[in-house]
Subunit: 253 residues, 6 copies
């Protein structure tokens, strides 16, 4: 099957080649785990390696912040925008939603104008202010996500998770059920240091790697490494050494 | 006793042949655990192997999504619909409820039209918006479920569970008490990887396998495998190695 | 002392012969743990073995469901009803409460009509909708329970517990304080399988067995077996192997 | 110092002789732990062994229930009442509070009438309905407790605790701060059985035994036994074997 | 630096001599941990050993209670009050606040009248009723605390903590941020007994002992002993034996 | 890259030289962990070692408190203010926000007046009272933080965390997502003593040290030491000894 490569070493392999085209892909993590970096890398790779122009929809940060942040990885977003391969649009959830609901809205025009194939929505968490009714909010996000797909876009949607270590006790999370894939970025404490873990929990219509992999943010962007070894309870954020390694130490004696 | 086979290797065995006819069967799980796949497989098996036409009631996804998703497993839902063996109906909880309350409502007509014997309700979670009063909601769901049974249908009802690992602290769950069977799909972290577990917690009027079994979503649908071994606390999502294996390692020395 | 036998092998032994006459006995458990089965067995045993007619008060299920469910255990509730030894009454908490408050209400008449000595109230959880004020609700349940006793009935009251494993964090549970006995049915995960545990926590005016016993639902109803062995934290739902067995393994070496 | 003996073997020893005269003593526990039994034993011992008449204030149960319950331990409360050494008064928190606020109220008269020296208030939990404002409720209870002391009474106040095992997450408990002593009755799971534990947490103006002691309800009432041994985390309700016993098993080898 | 000695053996050593003059010092603990005793000892030591008269502000207990409680330790508060070295003032948070806001209020007059240098505010928890808005409450307490300092007083402020073992999940605690020192009194279960632990968590403008120390309430007041040894997780209230002692037992073999 | 040195031994090394210029840096911790000390040290180092004047914005404490607190470390803030290198401004979140929104507001004037390059905002927690709507509050803080950057300032923003040990269950924390770096100060219990831990969780646009480091508040300010060793679960506040050290003890035998 055709795939939309993220260009992130290790992640495309986990996704069996990349995202499925025209899908909505949720990337969730605590502050500093690299959600936006992952999304920018996805956009950058599309433009540079696949000839697929991209859109970035931001609800808080100015385009300048993306220019600066991308420059840290050697990606020239300002230049790409000048060349008509990228548009960074600062808007609000209210406006974006309205744009996509009407024929020929602003987003539709931008898609046509630069022939966009990819979009980064940074972050979906801002949609939460659109409704206090969770069923209503779900319907809004579902409509928004489907509109992106109708435009032919493959989307990376970031979402903020306030839990620094381990999982929150989400009692009302509907978003994860309506996206096509769901990737978790998490902090893990091991040997007095904080590591980063990536897990693809869900991928609709495709098999995928179920491992919990280490990753780092390097000067070239995100790099996904090997799975954690010899630890139990990684997703708790505070794993224990496995009894195995303990036993082996004895046995080797 | 006559049983309604799900056609899922391993699950029918756990259910001692399949679901009891004309019962409501709850399948609950986190995003990506395979609730809808299990339900589609149940519908597909009814049509293909048992000559039992089926209905799919959806409150969010379009029929096209089911065509696509089923195609991943080699099931041609579009064709089955054309042959009059399947109806995928996108509706709302409000309308479904009203349909079943009146004589000769839309659902009743569809059942008669194709001679439906099975139904997938995907997902029951959408009913939660029908009432904020839990006693009232319970009465609605109970009425809906009974109406399905009166139509002679055996039902698979999916339900979303927001907890990624382990159980939520449900303080107000009435649904599990009024269905005839209750199956849990759960994520379990073992050796730096996420596995899937299936447990039939409850089955009214029948014995059933109490094991916590591993399962996978393959290109042929869901396949239930052997129970987990040598682990304590599987339902917590983060099991510990059992002391047994530790002791054995010593003893074997 | 005279006792009201439940007819459940093992349970009567734990209760030192059975329930105390004219008491209210709470049976609480998660979905599928066998609360209703225990209650039906209590009613069935009264009719068949003790010559004590019985009432079943149901607030949700139709009498047909009890006919079906009891038939699974070889108990013919329909026939018993025809013989005037059983009445299954589908009603509402509102009506039941009013019935018992007036002289010669419906329940009083039924008691007189068949000479009922036992009652199953399935389930007390439905009373929760009668008041949002916990002190008021407590007074209602207390009045209801006392009225049953005044009618000379020994009552089994089922109650739903939404926690699948371990205990809920009940912060406002008054019912357990006003009943005469309190029995917990719980799920326990051991070696990748779900077992059922029964514990008589409280029994007013009598000694009782304090063990946490395994039980099963067989074709003859509930059967209470031996206590769990070699496990700590059974009531948590996820017990640990005890260090003892670990030590013994070493010592036996 | 003069002490008010409870007559409970083991408890008076823990209290260094008994309660301090004219104090309010809180006894808190889950359903079935024996709060009322402890209180009745305190009243019974006063009448029979110390020549101190007693009052029982009940807000829910009828006097008949106390006659029955006390009879289980061979205490004839009905007879004592006839002899003018005991008064069991069923009332409401509203009335009790008003009674104590006015000069020559009903409680004051009863105290004078029988020369009462002890009182059992069963249970203080019913006061919670007097106010939803916690500061106001605290003031009410403080006033009530002080009025009892002014009448020259030594009081046992029972309080219900909904947590079956371990502690509740009390965030707003003011009562324990204003009483003179605070005794906890708790369930503890050990070796597949439920045991009962008693702990005197607080005793104003006196030293006391800090041990967590086992106790049982026998045909003679409550009997306090030896402390638990070789267990950690008893107050969690689910103690672990201590590493000590583990080590000793090795060392003894 | 000059210090205000508490006179409590062990505590002054932990505080590097005592409290810093004209500071607000928070003492927090569960019922019975000895908050008021610590505060009375601080006042008593000031009067007897340092020639520093003291004030006690109480919002619930009558002065008589302080006379009685102090007498248990051989401190004659009634006499000290007669000698003009102590004033025990029963008031309300509303009045205290108003007193300190106006020039020449009652508290200011008392300070001048007896030349008070120390104050015990027992307890600060009663201030919580002054506002339901946490920012407003914070401002009130901050104003109150500063007013005490302006009067030249060194203050001990007690605060109630409802958690019997371990910490509460405080989500809105602002008080600890605005005081100058913060000392925790906690219960700790060790070997089937309840011990008391003291920890100075914070001390502005000074170094201090960071150990978790055992303490007892003796006939001479509070005595702080050695730190706990060989235990992990003391502040959880239910510490585990450390693996160290386990290892040592093996090694010594 | 140019960096803004904090002057704190160890921290600058962790930050790869210091903060990135014109960024907002969040320092979060429980009471007494040293948030304000860290902020004052940052301001002091700017003035004394880098020729960068600084501003302190305080919403609760008076400038006198900062004079006193800084004097403990030998920093003469009063003198620096007289020399025009420092301004300590006591204000309110409402006023600060308004100041920064208008051209030539008070803060802008102060920046110009002393040529301020650094700012300490102590503490950001006071902003929480500006709105009960979390999306609105987020927009306010974002606007405030950006205004500081526009003034050319590098900011340290302190934030209060009420959890004494371990993490709070934050369900609505948006601030950590919009700052440029996020540093956690935490208490950790080890061997019956409370230690302090520092962790740089996030640093936008730069690599940084991911270790969990010990730190102390000495007479020279904050000093960051080596990482913790041989412990698991440090961020829980109650770490366990690692199995490693256990094994090593055996192996070395």
């Amino acid at each position: 099957m055709e795939r939309v490569k993220t260009g992130i070493p290790g992640l495309d392999e986990m996704l069996q080649g990349g995202f499925v085209p025209q899908t909505a892909n949720l990337i969730e993590g605590a502050p500093g785990t690299g959600k936006t970096t992952l999304g920018m890398q996805f956009i950058h790779h599309g433009i540079v390696a696949c000839g697929e122009p991209g859109l970035i929809l931001t609800f808080e940060e100015f385009p300048q912040q993306y220019y600066r942040d991308s420059a840290n990885f050697g990606w020239d977003f300002r230049h790409m925008e000048q060349e008509g391969k990228l548009r960074i649009v600062m808007t609000s959830p209210e406006v974006s939603k309205a744009d996509l609901e009407q024929v020929g809205g602003r987003i539709e025009k931008l898609v046509e104008e630069i022939g966009a194939r990819r979009i980064l929505v940074d972050s979906l968490s801002h949609f939460e202010r659109l409704s206090e009714n969770s069923a209503h909010l779900r319907a809004i996000v579902y409509g928004f996500v489907n509109a992106l797909k109708r435009e032919g876009l493959t989307a990376v949607l970031t979402r903020e998770n306030a839990a620094l270590l381990g999982e929150t006790e989400e009692t009302d999370d509907a978003i994860a059920f309506l996206v096509d894939s769901y990737t978790l970025l998490r902090y893990v404490e091991i040997e007095s240091s904080i590591h980063k873990a990536l897990l693809v929990l869900k991928m609709r219509g495709s098999n995928h790697d179920k491992g919990i992999r280490q990753f780092e943010i390097t000067s070239r962007g995100i790099e996904v490494r090997a799975p954690f070894e010899g630890r139990e309870g990684i997703m708790s954020g505070s794993p224990r050494r496995m009894v195995d390694s303990f036993v082996q130490a004895f046995v080797r004696r």
